[in-house]
Every structure is written in structure tokens, then in C-alpha cells.
């Protein structure tokens, strides 16, 4: 419980800020005005037309933050003595067990690359303008 709260406390604020800023921007766009002019209910305008566009930068941040989370878990798992990948990395450093450390680092980097790729794919789905590139 406490480890989860610790990590959550660390990574949530940037999300809140980004979603808030994104929504404020999106709600002031011309296409949101168009959606309102069409007479759509406020719920629809906010959750369909505004949120979809506000999410694009958020998805990018998810990838970055999950990466940080993996790094952060090294600290958190060590402090709370949890049996996880982070703790393993910590131990392999203490015992100078380089093959294990290399494996952990490789795994983490791989995870990072996959996350970034995933976020690009999700963003291309969210915003069709990103598809051509």
C-alpha cells in the first residue's frame, strides 16, 4: 500500500497539470464551439470533442512517466524491501552481479522502447493528423 502511494504521489501531479491545461485549451477551440453550435449536450462536447484532443500529450507523458516509474521502483522496492525488478537491480549492484544487472537494464530499456512505440501508436489513433508522418 505505502509503496504504491509513494510512487503514485510522485507521478500523478504532472498528469493532473497536463490534463487540466489540455482541457482548458481544448474547450476554447473552434471545433468545441462548433460542437456546441450543433446543439450537442455539454457532456458530449466535453468528453468526446475536447477530451480526445486533450489526451494526446497525456499519452506521451504516460510513456515517460512509466519509464520514470521503473527507475523509481528501484528506490521504492529497495526501501520497502519488495521483491521486484527494481530490488533485483539494487541487489545485483550491491553484489556486483553484472550479468543480472545487464539483463535488468536491457529489460528496462526494452520496456521503455515498447512504451514509447505504444504511445505513438495510441496517439496516431487519437489524432489522425499524426498518421501520415
Amino acid at each position: 500500500m505505502l509503496p504504491a502511494v509513494t510512487l503514485g504521489y510522485y507521478i500523478t501531479p504532472p498528469f493532473m497539470r497536463l490534463v487540466r491545461a489540455g482541457m482548458i485549451d481544448a474547450l476554447n477551440t473552434d471545433y468545441v464551439r462548433t460542437a456546441r453550435a450543433k446543439g450537442l449536450p455539454a457532456r458530449r462536447v466535453v468528453f468526446k470533442h475536447a477530451l480526445r484532443n486533450a489526451l494526446v500529450p497525456v499519452v506521451g507523458l504516460v510513456a515517460v512517466q512509466l519509464g520514470l516509474l521503473m527507475g523509481g521502483s528501484v528506490v521504492v522496492e529497495s526501501i520497502f524491501a519488495l521483491d521486484g525488478l527494481g530490488y533485483l537491480a539494487y541487489q545485483s549492484i550491491s553484489y556486483r552481479d553484472f550479468p543480472v544487472l545487464q539483463a535488468v537494464v536491457l529489460l528496462l530499456s526494452l520496456a521503455y522502447v515498447v512504451l514509447t512505440l505504444l504511445s505513438d501508436i495510441i496517439n496516431a489513433w487519437l489524432d489522425p493528423r499524426l498518421r501520415a508522418a
Partner: protein
Amino acid sequence: MNKPLLSVRDLRVDLNTRSGVLHAVRGISFDVAPGETLCIVGESGCGKSMTSLALMDLLPRVARRSAGGITFDGQDLTRRRIAGRLRGRRMAMIFQEPMTALNPAFTIGDQMVEAYLYHVGGTRAQAVERAAQMLEKVGIGSARSRLSQYPHQLSGGLRQRVMIAMALITDPELLIADEPTTALDVTIQAQILRLLKDLQKELGLAIILITHDLGLVSRIAERVVVMYAGAIVEEGSAAEIFDRPAHPYTRALIDCIPQPGRTERGAHLGTIAGVVPSLIGPQEGCAFRDRCPVAQPRCASDIPTQQAGSHRWVCIHGGRA
């Protein structure tokens, strides 16, 4: 005049700004008859957009609207519930910026269908059928395949056509068009204008066309309202406004229309000397007097409204000064 479709009485829009309350619209009144084209014309910053947004209840948050009365087909538009029922269904609006007015994240089909399904109902297939029909009506070929395209795949002119098709999909009786051609190049402008005119005839649509370009007004309007500094300074039929303009501001605007053969090549086009006065705080006397070539000392006090039939103007001079 037969019963008006839209009737606006003493409409005011106030904006809170850092330097004080800006009175963007200062008690204007006008009517729109069913099937009629009314043009609201005036320089940029005269309160035209605020007027149109106020009618659709789309004003920005800093703006406050008040009105002696706004009715649509006899129903009280100042009541949120009623306005909510009419907006997007019996009264629709298109905007100046076709490049940003459509949501980049959804196909144009999706955006067209959604309004139809919400207001009219029926199955999705029916709505798609209707959307394709509307695209054809606004002159977009291979409508079916267009429906699955995204806004960024269309040109500005096409997007404005899509906006028009989308606005008309619920078969509204009134279309408010705020500078619909200003962002487009001249040939496309003419096409869109032609299209609006044709659609109006075909559908019996009333149009409020808002523009700063009086040249464009002469091609489409039946009645004209001239706005200056948040107020109506002259109102009349297109013939009255163009053949017998009574207000010095209207005359100045008309003089700005480039005339083939009459306007000198390279002459300074389309502007009246001087600037629109600040709209912050109250206005004493005629707001145009700093720029008016025929101003008199008494223009600084209350100006009477003069009338000749349906032709009305707010000036100390009667007719040709």
C-alpha cells in the same frame, strides 16, 4: 412584413476586460423574416461576432448578454431550455475559420452524423445516407468516400462546404454565417456565396450573413443592417442601402468597395480613415463623429433615429447631407 422568424430587441453584450467593461453590443434590435437574407455589415471590431454568438448562446465566458427579448418563431430564446432545443436543430451557425472549426480527431462523416442522430434520430445507416446527400447538395462529389476522410485531408473551401452541409443536415430554418468566406481566396469565396444563395432558394432558408465586406453584401442581401461601434447606425433594404445610403458611415463603406474601371490602380483600398473608438465605457453622442466628414457640434449629444418606410438611420442629417 409577415411574422418574423427571429426577432431581437435591445440586445446587449458586455465583456469584462482588464481596463473595464467593454460594451461590445449596445442595445440593437432587428427582425429576420422566414427565407430572408439579412446582412450585418461593419468594420472589424464593431460587435458583429458578439451579436451572432449571443443569438446562439455561444458567447465566451467573459461576456454577459442581456436583451429586452429574443424570440425564434415566437419562442423565447433567452430561456436556456428553449434555446437548447432550437440550437443546432432549427437554427444553425457556421464560422469564419474552416480550418479549425472541424474536430481534427474525427472523420467528417462522424461529425455530420452525430448532429443528425442527436436531433432527428433514426439509425446510423439513415444518418450516413443523409450526410452523403448533404455533401452532394453542397457540391462535394464522391460523397461516400469523403465521409471517411478527416478534416486535414480537405482544402479550406471544401471544409467550409462540409461546415455548411453539417449545419444544414437537420434542415434548420435559420443559418447564421459569421464571415464564412473571409478566410478563403477570392474564387472560392464567390463559389461559397453562390452556394449559400442557391441553398437558400432551394430550402427556403433564412440567412444572417455577417461580413465586413460590403461588396459581398451587394451580391446576396435582401436587407442590410450596418453596425458601428456596437450599435446599428442604418438599416434598410439592399436597394435603399446601396442606392440611397443615408448614414455617412454607410457611404464611407460603399466608397471603399473597389469598382472596376473607377478605382485607381494601386489606390488605397477598403479602409476608412481613422479608427473605431474604444468600446469600453459609455458612448456620448455619435460614435462616428471623429471620422465623419459632415459632423456638426450637436453630434456630441443624443442623435435622433430617422425613418423613411423600412429605411432607418441614426444621424442628425436626413438623407443626403
